[in-house]
Subunit: 400 residues, 2 copies
């Protein structure tokens, strides 16, 4: 259920959405508290006394979101309905704003033998510098008529492959055989526009192999996850919001750009992000998305205390964020990353929504268990944005 | 929303789904506790401290499930979308594995007068032995060319009618006039294949009346709920699970078989079922469904103490079940059967999910009211299986 766009008011209060990546956790085996519950968070706890609490379920029951789907869900998009490929996320993660009509794929340098059989699907994991050299060489020496091919080097053997031309489709198979000792698969398109893309990819690959023939290891490439930019109506169109994304990492700027936010310089972390929020408000943005990566990183590493510290660092910055002039403050996560699991999980994430229209529970603090009894209860990710609009006095009544 | 099959991993931890039939209850008028809350259940209460709690709503708001739909919902099938007739449930309830292509109907022996008008829709409720004799007689003396007709005697006047032939359809009307003093209705099919079935049923009935002409009461039959086996993708296909059903009563084995579980000998009750779980795990099943009928039976009888005792009997067996080697334990019901109502009800049923990835509420015990505040909140029946797969580390992350 998407909020009808005509209910959204062009003016209203200012909203800040603070995403603590991987916020949700599970009890520590020794003391039974989650990371958020164990953290010393006086400012979030004080804010809870003046906030509606609840939990957000990003995907249907049991499904664990990656960062892309988790953020899309918070931004009001059903990630299951929105089909997009790995290539899009790679491009977004490289801070590349894939435009409608462009096709992106995830590339791997690989090693093939004299008969064209794949010997190493990662070309011996070259260094990042080596990956940059290979991408530069291909960019300089390989061209396909009528098409612009861009290569964005990534970590080790990884790169993003982007084709720009008229009428390209994205329904093209991966050429990765998935196992060594087999040939890469030929590219084929499922429709006319995708056949064009497949022909371009095949042409480029043949020329790339000639160009890389002298390389010791990285003498070919595998492409997968062909994708175009899906049509996603923007925040302005859907919610009448002028939205800024203040994320340090490119992946999150990319997802925000996809939904129509404007990325702004977020510096190197929380202190810079406070200044960035002030600057965005001065620029008349009425929605800011602030992304704090560290809790997720700590969760992946399995370091409970480090995740606690990452949450406490945000709490310490909260008073400064509260003084920026935002009217509605939402604090939540894009998924859980319990340190005892060392990976993302399906568990719903805690949610705090502060505004002067909140319905707090007495004596509540901000933690997984307290949030279960809150005003907001358990909502699906795409239900969050309408709720924030309502708290910001930005939604008209429905019906007389 | 069904979990995408490609997210399901072929390996993972072992799951036990324990269904206490009719588990949910309502407060006793004297002391205000439900049957589950009043029961002395130290083992379920202890497990609650290490479990995610919640409630399951088997059908849309206000709808009371029969046992078939209740179980299908738990097994991940939307019972509203899956059309199936009473005949199928009768066949399943008779431990008859209706195969694709076979047609089943629920039969009643009835009494007709000389003009063919129905005088008694239940033929004076013959004894079970009498029903067996009548079915045997018809099986021996009545045949329809090119068709195998099987009759499975039931309680009193009831039997299951099963036809096996090529190209049979199930869209055939009931011939039961619903009131006495009228003729049975002629059979008609809504499509060509169903017309074939209707013709067979009509032919069989005419011959059955000749065969039964000398009977004092049971001189005809009524057939209703013509049904074929619906196409239901199995647990292996949908969830990558090798599933065993350990139910004492045939109806529940039948529903489990319908979703691709393999029924195994469950003996006569809980003690035998413990051994059956061990045997199933030794056979490399990675999912076991254990069905405990008694709470429902007691609920129907309106005997509060008897339902309490049935729940306590399960609790007493729980430690033995916990030692079988299951990693994920779910305890719930297929519907509520409050003793004050003496029938099934629509109330959501309590749910406990134990795994090392659970998020317990401190100091919670297993009861209707406690479960309202649990991590799992209120889920629809078909949301349960994805959740159990997640707890068993059997689902891939969705998206990068």
């Amino acid at each position: 259920m998407t909020i009808p766009a005509q209910l959204c008011r062009p003016v209203g209060e200012r909203i800040g959405l603070f995403v603590l990546d991987g916020l949700g956790g599970l009890p520590h085996p020794d003391h039974g508290k989650t990371e958020l519950e164990a953290a010393n968070t006086p400012h979030m706890d004080a804010l809870s006394q003046k906030s509606s609490l609840g939990r957000v379920q990003l995907l249907p029951s049991g499904m664990t979101p990656g960062s892309g789907p988790g953020h899309l869900s918070l931004f009001g998009i059903d990630p299951i309905e929105l089909e997009f490929g790995r290539g899009l996320l790679e491009a977004l993660g490289s801070d590349y704003a894939l435009e409608p009509g462009q096709i992106a794929a995830r590339g791997n340098f690989c090693t093939i033998d004299g008969e064209g059989l794949v010997q190493d699907r990662r070309a011996g994991r070259p260094s990042d510098d080596e990956c940059q050299r290979l991408c530069a060489k291909l960019t300089e020496e390989v061209s396909v008529d009528g098409v612009t091919i861009e290569l964005i080097p990534g970590k080790q053997h990884r790169f993003t492959w982007i084709a720009t031309a008229q009428d390209l489709g994205a329904r093209v198979n991966d050429n990765d055989p998935q196992v060594t000792g087999k040939s890469a698969l030929p590219f084929a398109g499922e429709d006319a526009a995708s056949e064009t893309t497949a022909a371009i990819a095949g042409d480029w690959l043949a020329k790339a192999q000639q160009c890389l023939a002298g390389e010791a290891a990285a003498n070919s490439a595998l492409l997968r996850g062909f994708s175009s930019r899906p049509h996603v109506p923007g925040f302005a169109e859907r919610f009448q919001l002028h939205a800024a994304a203040l994320a340090v990492y490119p992946m999150y700027r990319g997802v925000a750009r996809l939904v129509g936010m404007q990325p702004r310089d977020a510096g190197r972390g929380l202190a810079d992000q406070v200044e960035a929020v002030k600057a965005a408000i001065a620029e008349d943005f009425d929605f800011v998305f602030v992304h704090h990566k560290d809790p997720d990183t700590a969760g992946h590493s399995g370091d409970f205390e480090s995740k606690v510290a990452a949450i406490e660092a945000f709490d310490a910055a909260l008073p400064a964020f509260l003084e920026c002039g935002l009217d509605v403050i939402a604090i939540t996560g894009d998924h859980s990353t319990p340190t005892i699991m060392e990976e993302h999980s399906w568990h719903a994430v805690p949610l705090l929504v502060h505004s002067k229209r909140a319905l707090p529970q007495p004596d509540s603090t901000f933690g997984e268990r307290n949030c279960m009894n809150g005003d907001i209860n358990l909502i699906a990710g795409p239900e969050l944005m309408p709720l924030l609009l309502a708290h910001a006095n930005r939604l008209d009544k429905y019906g007389a």
